[in-house]
Structures are given as C-alpha cells and as structure tokens.
C-alpha cells in the first residue's frame, strides 16, 4: 500500500512531542502519521525494523541556496567544481554533477540520502522567481518553498518613506501570491539598492541614497508588516555589513529593532499533534549568524564576535537564528548582498559574478575555498560552532552551512560530529591555524550536544521557525510521514568515535517521504511526489486596488510588462498555497 508503513522498535527523537530517544513504533497511513494501523492495514504493510537505530522526523533545511538565478550562475561559471564530483544515471535516477553547486537532480538525491525531506530556498528575486520555481520543480525528493527578497524593493521603500503601511502590506501579499513564495527575506536593507550606484550602507541609521529609508526603518517596518499580515515565519534577516570585521555589533543592534513587535502568525492549517507549542513566537529569524559575527576592526585584529550576539540571544526570546557553519574545503559564496561579494572580490581577486535586479534587489557569486591553514577561515570554522554551542536553548538555533556559502550541505554530518563531540573539535584545532584557538572561545567550550538537540537543530526547530511544524519536523499524529532512520544506536554511541557519527548521518539507513521509502543506505530507491508551498495572504481589496494603481504606474521602470511579470502555477510542482489571514 503506497504511503503506508510501520517503523518498529527504533529510538525515536521527536522534540516537538518531547520524545527523547524512547523506543517506539511509528505508523504512517496514506502519507500521514497515525496512532496505529488497523489489522487489515498491518497485513500487507511494509514494516521496517528500526531496532538499535535512531528515528527522527525527516530533515528540514530552512536556509539553503539550491535553486534560482544566482545558484545557476554558480553552476555555469564553475566547471572546475563539477568534473570531479558526479553521479551516473541509473534506471531510476538522472545523472548530475557539482560539488558545492550541484545540479538539481544531484542536489535532491544528496539531501534525501542524508534523511532530509524539506528544503527552503533562501532567496528568490521577484523578477526571476520563474527561474527559481523551474529549478525547484526539477529538484526531486524534496518538498520546497522560497523566501521573497524584499529588503531593497523600490515599491516598499517608497511606501515606507510615505508612511503608507496599508499599501505596503497589500503589496507584500500581492507579491507573495504573484510569485508563489512563502516568506519575507530582507538582505542588507538599503545597502543593495545603494549598490546600484556602487555604494553600500554601513550603519543602521544611514539612509538609502535615493529613497532615504534607513536600514533600521526597513527592518522595523518589515517585521511589523510580517506580523500584520500573519505570515507563518518571522522576517528573515541577512543583516547589514556582512563579512566585515566588526560587523557583530550592527547585527546585535539589528536584532534589537524588532524586540517589541508582537508576533501573530495566522494560518488556516490543521496542526499535527505536538506537546510543545509548535507555533513560533519570534519576530526575527537571523540567518548565517557566523558571517554577521565578525569581531575586530580589520583582518589583522580579526576575532570572533559571536559571544556579543549569543549573549543577546540568550537573554531575549524574540530571536531565532541559523548558524552558517564553515566545514572547510570548497565552497561557492552566493548571496543577494551584491556589495558584500564585491568586497570579497577585492580581497581575493577570484572570478566574480554579479547580477543586479531592476527595482528589486541584487546578487553576487564568487568561488571560495576555506583553508585550515588560513587564520581567518580557521576562526570562521570555530565561530560557526560557537554560534550553536553558546546558545543555551537549542530552540533558538538552526544548523546550516548557509549552503554553499560556508560549505555545501553534504558536509552537515561533519558539522553534527563537531557539535556532538569535543574530541572532534580538539582534533580539528590540532590541524588548523592557531587563530581558531586564540581568536575565538571555542577551545574552552566543552558542551557536547545530544541527539535530541541535533534533532531540534536540524528538523524540529527549522520547521517550527518557518511555520511548517503543522506538518513537518515532527512525528506527531497528523504530520507528514517524513522520517529519517539513522544507523546510530544511542545506547552504544561513543562520541569520541566521531567518525561513526559522520557515517551515521551521511547515509540514512532509510529516508521515508510521505510513508514511502525513497532512499536506503545512500541509494535512491523511489522518486516521490513533491509539494511546493507558498503563502496566500488575504488582504483588504480596496488597499490592493489602490496599491495596484501605483504599481502599474511605476511598472514603466521595469523592462518586463505588468502582464508578463507574474509566475504562473505551471512552474510549481504540486502548488500548495497556505491560507494566511492578515489583520483586519
């Protein structure tokens, strides 16, 4: 029976239900988790014996660059990234290649092999949303969605300057529907529009050259609009000044801005059963904290500024963040923050691509290699781990590499090993530049994360943060039947043998999507159906009408006509709108 399966005797980790390694059976019927299967169902059901294995909800990546124009710029300009890392076609699967920027088929398979079933694209430029959706549609194995880049949008900046909040709200909801995207991404607010003139911003109160809106106003307004609209996830912030020594302060100050914004996610969905509150209460979701946590004043006195941020996060409850870990080796840096990548070009002289998008945003791409012999890279490695280890409550953290910026997502098992094993960290310290010890505090940190905390960081919390825990990131009754079973016996686990952790998480014994085994010990065995999520926000019809009059008038500054601007549903695999109720 398709979509029906029994997983027996595994050690189950379902943090949203406070299940911490209990031996339990999980039953899935027609793709959803159920309490039990009837006798008739049990007769011909597929049964998996998970005895001595770790059972978690399918992995959820809430911030990864996997689809769209800039990812493809990375693919196109980097044949040297692809030729050594490839996979052959099989009767079931397509071939593919690419290490840090894999082709879409390969990317989908690699995620699935690690037990991931849901991935959200970190940045969708509105005008190029069709491209992002084309790539997501072609990415197998994963349920997906994407965040719309709005932090430098002309229409929004104009409305904010004029103080017209209603029209700004109507504009955001119209854009989400028009481009079938899920949440608000705010990248270097004000700075990317300035990059249209080759400039940036460096302070929260520095106004944008033309629109005269400050980053502070943008962050505050977007956070308020986000809640006014009832969007399932908090505003997703890539703070100003990224990648510059000393940037940790502006990051911390940015986090202070939405402190008093009251959160009101409001979706019409049926929630899976969970013991903990599965709804988010944070008003800001900071991304790739490591890249925003540089200390010092120059590359000479560069040091970790992580503690300044994590101290703030530990003493406040309105922030959740992902780490942006650096696992060493080849990477491709890519971001909507065009000026940040220009600075990296000046620093490295590498090949550099940039695409500014008219009236909306920008992006930059540059190949990068993190070397253990490099003082700054070694410090960044340590800082990425500091971000996760210093935050005491795991429910405020999400583990990412900001793939492929810190490193490709296939390095997640390695990152997990560092988090779980102090010995793994000490062994790496021995191999890398001494700045990792001297300029960060990681050497003195002895915390070793548990499997339960890893489950929080890699599925429960990403799903909760972005408002997907009504069906993802948990094994509660009614949740999607997405499960990862790892060859890790929690009772026998010896964290000093960290290679066994890497091996365990690298290839899930089984990845199950909607009740169907899709990959098994590193081999893809089925190509499941996939869903693409986006928010459908109901707003005031009058506001929308007034807003569209403005938008049509201003459309003359685009080179694409108003009628040819939207992204039709045709570009989505199983389009799944989520009804959102804006404040009246």
């Amino acid at each position: 029976m398709a979509g029906t399966i029994a997983i027996k005797n595994g050690y189950v980790y379902d943090p949203l239900n406070e299940i911490n390694g209990e031996i339990m059976d999980i039953f899935i019927k027609d793709g959803k988790v159920v309490t039990e299967l009837s006798g008739a169902d049990m007769k011909d059901v597929k049964e998996i014996d998970a005895k001595g294995k770790t059972v978690m909800p399918g992995g959820v990546d809430s911030h990864s660059h996997v689809a769209g124009a800039k990812v493809n710029v990375g693919r196109m300009m980097r044949p040297e990234d692809h030729y050594k890392f490839y996979q052959k076609r099989t009767p079931l699967t397509h071939s593919g290649c690419g290490y840090s920027v894999p082709s879409v088929y390969l990317g989908g398979y690699e995620y699935s092999k690690m037990g991931y079933t849901t991935v959200f694209e970190a940045a969708v430029p509105p005008m190029e949303a069709r491209h992002t959706h084309e790539e997501m549609r072609s990415t197998p194995m994963l349920d997906m969605g994407g965040y719309l880049v709005l932090g430098n949008n002309w229409f929004l900046m104009r409305y904010l300057k004029e103080g017209d909040v209603d029209k700004a709200a109507a504009y955001i909801s119209w854009m989400m529907k028009t481009h079938k995207t899920y949440g608000i991404k705010c990248v270097n607010p004000g700075g990317v529009e300035n990059w249209g003139w080759g400039e940036n911003v460096s302070a929260l109160d520095q106004a944008n050259i033309h629109f005269e809106v400050t980053p502070e106003e943008m962050i505050k307004s977007l956070a308020e609009l986000n809640e006014k609209l009832g969007i399932p996830m908090p505003v997703h912030l890539h703070a100003n000044n990224l990648g510059h020594p000393g940037c940790w302060e502006i990051t911390r100050d940015s986090l202070k801005i939405p402190k008093n914004v009251k959160t009101k996610p409001n979706t019409d969905v049926e929630w899976a059963e969970t013991k903990r509150n599965a709804k988010r209460h944070e008003s800001v979701y900071l991304t790739h904290c490591q890249f925003n946590a540089f200390g010092g004043t120059s590359w000479r006195d560069f040091e970790s500024g992580v503690k300044g941020i994590t101290d703030y996060v530990n003493s406040n409850d309105h922030v959740v963040m992902d780490s942006g870990c650096v696992p060493f080796g080849d990477a491709t840096v890519m971001t909507g923050d065009g000026p940040a990548i220009h600075d990296l070009y000046v620093l490295t002289g590498h090949k550099w691509s940039n695409t500014d998008v008219e009236c909306e945003c920008g992006s930059g791409v540059l190949p990068f290699e993190y070397l253990k012999s490099n003082p700054v890279h070694s410090s960044q490695w340590a800082m990425g781990l500091e971000v996760l280890l210093y935050v005491t409550d795991a429910w405020k953290s999400i583990m990412t590499t900001d793939s492929p910026n810190g490193g490709p997502f296939i390095k997640y098992p390695q990152v997990i090993a560092w988090l779980m094993s102090n010995k793994a960290r000490q062994d790496t310290f021995a191999e890398c530049h001494k700045w990792a010890q001297d300029r960060t505090g990681l050497g003195g940190e002895t915390r070793e994360m548990t499997l339960n905390e890893i489950a929080i960081l890699t599925r429960a919390n990403p799903a909760r943060t972005i408002g997907m825990s009504y069906r993802k990131g948990t094994l509660g009754i009614g949740a999607d039947g997405d499960v990862a079973i790892y060859n890790i016996d929690p009772k026998k686990l010896e964290v000093n043998d960290y290679e066994s952790i890497i091996r365990g998480f690298e290839n899930a014994a089984y990845t199950i999507k909607a009740g169907e085994v899709v990959s098994q010990m590193g081999e893809i065995v089925a190509i499941p159906e996939k869903n693409t999520f986006y928010t459908d926000i109901a707003t005031d019809a009058d506001d929308e009408k007034r807003m569209l009059e403005d938008v049509k008038k201003w459309f003359k500054y685009y080179t694409l006509g108003f009628n040819n601007y939207p992204t039709p549903e045709k570009y989505l695999a199983n389009p799944t709108p989520i009804q959102v109720n804006a404040e009246k």
Binding site: M76, Y83, R130, E134, K351, E358, C359, T559, N564
Partner: protein, 435 residues
C-alpha cells in the same frame, strides 16, 4: 480578436509588448521590429512545413506522424552516439526533453551557443560576469558601450527598449542623459548613431582591451598598440576617463568580441576590465544574445546537468570539454553516428567539413520551414511555433525567464508543441530500448 502583450520569438530581446490580430488567414503585427514582423508572418506563410516526411531510397515522401516518429526513434535507438542539437528557437520545455533523451541514450547535447556566444560563456568561466538585468541600465546608465555589436540591426529594439533611448528613473531625458560609445571595425548604423566611435582594426579587440586595462591601472600602454588597434592612446585614455566619470556604465558585447581572434580570451579580459572598473564606478557588462532562447539552453543545461553547452553523456554522466564534445568538433571528427536537430538550421551554420558529415549520417530535423538542414534530413518533423501556437519559457538576453502564451493553436492535431512532439518521440525510444 486583438492579442496584447505577446512575446516575440526572434531575438534575445524578448520584447513582450507585441500586439497581433489574426484574421482571415492574415496577421497584423504592431510594435515588432522588421525581424519580429517577418517571424510572425510565418504563422500564415505558404512555405511552412505541414507534413512529416522521410527519405526512402533517396526519395522524400510524406508519411503519417506516427511513421515519422517511428523512423526517428529507430534512428536514435540504433545509434551508438547520437548528437542532439537543441536549437534556440524553441522553448526550454522542449529543450529539456531533448536533454533527457541525450542522457537516456548516452549521446551528446548542444545548442546554438556552441557556434555563437559559447566563447562568451567560456570567458565567464574564466572571470565571472558582473552584470544586471536590462532595467538597471534603463534606469541608471549614463554611459552605454556597444562593443563588437551592431545593435540597431541585430537586436533592433535594444537601443529603444533597454539601452539608449528609454526614459528611466534617473535617466528621464532618455538619449540626452546618455553618452553612447561604439567599438566596431565597421561603420555600422549603430556606430553612426554614437557619440564616439572607436573604429579599431579587425581582430585587435584583445589588444585594445589590454591597453584600456593598463590605463585603468594607471600605467602607460606600449606605444605599438596604436598601430595594432588603429586607436590613438589619447582616445583610449579619454574613453577610460569617460567611464570613470560616469555614474553607471553599461557595456554590451556581441559576436564581434567573442568570435574575432582571441575568442573567449577577449571576453575574459573584457570581464576582468569591468570587474576592476567597479572599484571606480558602477559598471556592468552583458551579451546581446542572438536568438530568443539561446540563453535558455545555457540555463537549463546548467541547472539540470551542470554545464552550459556541449554536454557529453557517453559515460552515463555529464562531461564538458569545449573543442572535444562540441557540435562542430564531434562532426568534424566523425565522432557521432546520428543527429537530431531541432529549431536550428545547423547545416547552414557550421563549417563545410562538419556540415558534409552531418548530411551523410542519419539525421532527424524538427523545424517550421524548409532549410538546408531539412533538405539533408532523413526524417522531417513539422515544428510548432513557440509564443504563437503554444506556451513555454524563453530566457531573455539578461537571463530573465519570460513566460509566453500563444494566440493561436498548433496547426497539427498530432501535437500541441515541440515539447509534446519530443515527449512522443521519447516514449517511442523508451519503448524500443526497453523492449
């Protein structure tokens, strides 16, 4: 009925404001350029290929769609190493099916970039490209450079829609707010319309770019460069100063750069020059892509398989090595034994040796009108005209995907689109291969 906002399926400009009226076997087209108008006339033209044909014992005969597809499938299934040339005058959707077939059969897949802006793509692989969507230049650029391209004739609406004349946000006076420079050995209409024409000697682009780069870096270029390029060093200095003093420089390159001596090295140094120029002022570069979807193949081949053109699936995974797996080379080296050519008159556009071999091997051709390639083909499948008779996706010159919708239907009950035709062919190939 009048249809508005139709996308033009001719050049990489993807004009999206075409208005058409189809009535009594005639078509009236508004807003399109001469090239666009001519293509729209194809939809009612008398020379359209309307029936599938096959060549049997040297004679061409009309057959049913099913027979033609059967024979096409036989040719491809029996081939050891088929070449799929997935032309740029059709949708990404059709090209995607073609790529899947090439992968399935272990053949090669290539597209027009291989004989066009392929060197540009290779230049990007050396340097990266600092670009922007077309509207950035429209709203901001106060200096426009056309290098090795005659925009007025190759992309006739580029100057009016994107480059020189449009009134953008910070360029309210249009042409009067912009300085226009053309670098071209010929005195083209574009050059005549420019404020400054650098009439360099043919094939001296690399030397001129090197000299400009040297000046940008504050050094004096070698005096011999004046004789080599035909441009006085004082003019070179003036050009660099003009760029540095502008607020926003937008450079467009054409085949004059990527197909003159130096090829991708010309592009590489142009891209490096632009990268460095960004330390002084905002500067972008972009290629004027010839066909409506030549950029699209580069995009989808990259995201589906990792490489932008010239893909070889002979080993079961994608490999890329321009000069080895690219169309002209595999034909010249007689390295393929059958070919599928879609929406591109390949025979007409490759060197004689390669064209001769292509005509010798079994070839399937999908196209809308007779051309040397269909004449040399063993199976001809009638093409459906994208953006007129079916919907789909093109990628514009600046890699912005454009969704197009039809204003009429496919004239063939057997197929809705080229994508549909290819899917039917693929189904037959799978059935034969797996039988």
């Amino acid at each position: 009925m009048v249809f508005k906002n139709i996308i033009c399926p001719v050049c990489g400009g993807s004009c999206d404001d075409i208005q058409v009226e189809l009535k009594d076997g005639k078509i009236d087209v508004q807003n399109a350029c001469k090239m666009g108008n001519a293509k729209f006339q194809e939809v009612v033209s008398h020379h359209r290929i309307l029936k599938p044909t096959i060549r049997e014992n040297g004679k061409v005969k009309d057959v049913s769609w099913d027979e033609a597809l059967e024979m096409a499938a036989d040719i491809l299934v029996n081939s050891k190493r088929p070449l799929f040339f997935l032309g740029s005058e059709t949708s990404c959707e059709a090209q995607e099916v073609g790529l899947h077939m090439a992968e399935y059969l272990g053949g090669l897949a290539d597209s027009n970039a291989t004989i066009c802006h392929g060197p540009t793509v290779m230049g990007i692989q050396e340097s990266g490209m600092v670009g922007a969507t077309a509207g950035q230049a429209k709203n901001r650029a106060d200096m426009i450079v056309y290098w090795g391209v005659n925009a007025l004739e190759s992309m006739p609406r580029h100057m009016s829609k994107y480059g020189v004349f449009p009134r953008g946000y910070w360029t309210k006076r249009g042409r009067f707010d912009r300085t226009m420079v053309t670098v071209d050995p010929r005195v083209t209409p574009t050059a005549v319309a420019s404020d400054l024409h650098l009439q360099l000697n043919p094939n001296s682009d690399y030397e001129l770019l090197s000299a400009l780069f040297t000046i940008l870096n504050g050094r004096e270029p070698h005096p011999s460069v004046e004789e080599i390029t035909g441009i006085p060093i004082s003019v070179m200095k003036q050009t660099v100063e003009m760029m540095k003093e502008s607020n926003y420089v937008s450079i467009y390159v054409g085949l004059g750069v990527s197909s003159s001596y130096g090829k991708h090295r010309n592009i590489e140094i142009a891209l490096n020059f632009v990268k460095e120029m960004n330390n002084y002022t905002k500067c972008n570069i972009g290629a004027l892509r010839g066909h409506c979807n030549v950029a699209g193949f580069n995009q989808i081949a990259s995201y589906l398989y990792g490489y932008p053109f010239g893909l070889d699936f002979g080993k079961g995974y994608p490999r890329y090595n321009p000069g080895e797996y690219t169309t002209v080379d595999v034909l010249r080296e007689k390295d393929v034994d059958a070919a599928f050519v879609m929406s591109a008159d390949l025979v007409n556009h490759i060197p004689a040796d390669s064209a001769k071999y292509l005509a010798e091997i079994p070839m399937i051709c999908l196209d809308i009108a007779p051309c040397p390639s269909t004449t040399a083909a063993d199976v001809v499948l009638p093409g459906v005209i994208d953006a007129m008779e079916c919907d789909g996706t093109f990628y514009r010159l600046d890699n912005v995907p454009v969704y197009f919708e039809p204003f009429t239907d496919s004239p063939f009950p057997e197929t809705k689109s080229n994508e549909d035709t290819l899917k039917q062919l693929f189904a037959k190939i799978k059935a034969k291969k797996e039988a």
